[in-house]
Symmetry: C2
Amino acid sequence: MNENMDPIARIALQLSRLPGIGQKSAQRLAYHIAAMPENDVKELAAALWQSRKALHFCVRCGNYTQGELCSVCANEERQNGQLCVVRDARDVAAMERIRDFRGLYHVLGGTLSPMNGIGPEDIRIRELLSRLGAEDIQEVILATNPDIEGEATATYIARLIKPMGIKVTRIAHGVPVGSDLEYADEVTLAKAMEGRREL
Amino acid sequence: MNENMDPIARIALQLSRLPGIGQKSAQRLAYHIAAMPENDVKELAAALWQSRKALHFCVRCGNYTQGELCSVCANEERQNGQLCVVRDARDVAAMERIRDFRGLYHVLGGTLSPMNGIGPEDIRIRELLSRLGAEDIQEVILATNPDIEGEATATYIARLIKPMGIKVTRIAHGVPVGSDLEYADEVTLAKAMEGRREL
């Protein structure tokens, strides 16, 4: 990184590397930052750097944490025998927002994707299996995304775990709450019918 | 700023204060930054903070600069008797992109806006007048935005300068190049007709 380049160009260049920020937005943000009070920029830069430096992966589940264990793994009340398998830390945050699930997580750190050369040894499947051997888990809930790669990953993991005699479930597919049947795609609607429950 | 808050929430909070970045984008960016290599985040934070710290206002024109004079003011070849008055440093950058104007700039740092309590003493009009007394300027080009505040500012400055016997011009209003007449608004079209030139 050339520290002698124009300061505004330097800010813009760095920001334009972030996802969803194009050249124009980066330029606009750079001018905004140039006009911000020095202390506010210091706080912004410190938040980025200190926060990133503070973040590690939980040694047990792979979620982000500042310590050795994440807040979920460190909470003994969360050891209720359920283990929710998700793709990344973002999905843990989404799950935690529903405030309904009281078990533990396992973050895979990706999904199987032969097209992109991502195989079982590239995501945290081995760690999952060793947790199942060491911890008291009765149910593994596969909560990978409902897309092709997420489905393939869930199917793959289910096949590995079932012989161990552990219950394996998959989150339900169906029509989103608050949506309109008319606009649901055929696959989702078919899954919703297939997964219908008696009232 | 609470340094003990969740690192990802802290990054998201800071980013959400930037213009055009909402809660959701800030969250998404925060997770992206969490997943970035530590060194890249260090570079990003350093670019923000070091660049902001390096920026000052050019003592002559008010543009951003790292030294005392900006690169335009420091370039003696740019003293061709023309002075282009713009609202802010962003507009200097826009003008420089056309690579056509070879004179100097004067950055007002705002436009007159009685509604927002911004009067002539709040923008760099006094500095402009003292430059006109001290420097060899034959033409002042008023290049404030073609909106109500920009027009009012241009008119106000023109009235002050004309009695000094200096030529005062305003950038042309008209239909943008590459646009479609059909979609031009009436005011722009009227201005384009008014400013027509013989071929």
